[in-house]
Symmetry: C2
């Protein structure tokens, strides 16, 4: 379960609550890297606590629900460092659209173009989200106190974002040329 290690990585930066992990991390700065469900985050935190990788202190609040603040233990740090250094194969990718295109011989050009255009739209949004993150990134990292390692961190994070943006652009290009290939003459219609 890689999610467990993502959480360890986030807790290494600072102690957090489940809610904080969800709203400040998984929905925000690493949304492009690892989307995570709230329920799964809480359940994973329970497991990590049982394993002794994190400890939990309850902060009693009266105007709001109590918070469970999770902190990384030494065992947790060790496990994370170990994970960080070992290769984990990427999961097999299964894209319905590509299967649809594979079987698309029986579809009309219009139907195929429609599928491609819907994907195009979805991917333009994803690209925009990545580019937004890229613009936001420098501002956010000003806070970091340790300059030596934070520079390395920034470089790596920029590299990762660049890959994601490049990929999206390649896909968008392909989608556009595919649409053009399918509708060579037609001027447009809607």
């Amino acid at each position: 379960m890689s999610l467990a290690f993502v959480i360890l990585g986030l807790l290494q930066q600072q102690q957090r609550t489940g809610y904080g992990l969800k709203t400040e991390c998984f929905d925000d700065c690493i949304a492009h890297l690892w989307q995570a469900d709230q329920a799964q985050i809480y359940r994973t935190l329970d497991k990590l606590e049982a394993q002794g990788f994190v400890t939990c202190t309850v902060e009693i609040q009266h105007d709001r629900p109590n918070r469970k603040i999770y902190t990384l233990t030494e065992a947790g740090t060790a496990a994370f460092t170990q994970w960080l250094q070992t290769h984990h194969p990427s999961p097999t990718l299964r894209e319905p659209l590509l299967v649809q295109l594979h079987f698309a011989a029986q579809l009309s050009d219009v139907a195929i173009a429609h599928l491609l255009e819907q994907e195009l739209e979805a991917r333009q949004e994803k690209l925009a989200a990545c580019e937004a993150l890229q613009n936001m990134a420098p501002a956010e990292s000003n806070l970091s106190p340790d300059d030596l390692s934070s520079l390395r961190g920034q470089t790596m994070q920029r590299l990762v974002l660049e890959l994601m943006i490049q990929r999206e652009k390649v896909y968008l290009d392909w989608l556009q040329t595919a649409i053009a290939t399918i509708q060579p003459k037609s001027e447009s219609k809607d």
Copy 2:
């Protein structure tokens, strides 16, 4: 469940057994598009039969285990055509390596390069597999009798393969430049 529709698409081409689907399709011509587990194929066939999308005739064999030959029904064809035309969002991609790089500030250059190199190797294999399919594709499709729609089908399948190959190449390029970025001076060491 997209697997169900992949199976319907394959059965539309010709009737097949579960074993045939696995060995001749999922492990072969559409291995790049949709990897599927044998157990899952059989269970999905059961469901499709229960739904009335396929029918099953048992062919008794004496020297070998009996075969259950599945054929697409009209309802199955209709369901498949419907699925083929509607947009199905791509699943969220979660890549451990990118998370690792995101947190890689604390790792040494050597450790990071090692991670990248392992991914590079895995991806070179994937690219090779895709390129092998690309070279194989024309020969395989000679068998098709209906020339009109088979040409369309070939075009689409070529397009899909081109996308996958392009993607792999972009990723490989990025991996190589990332490795170069991390190890700017060092000549190598192992």
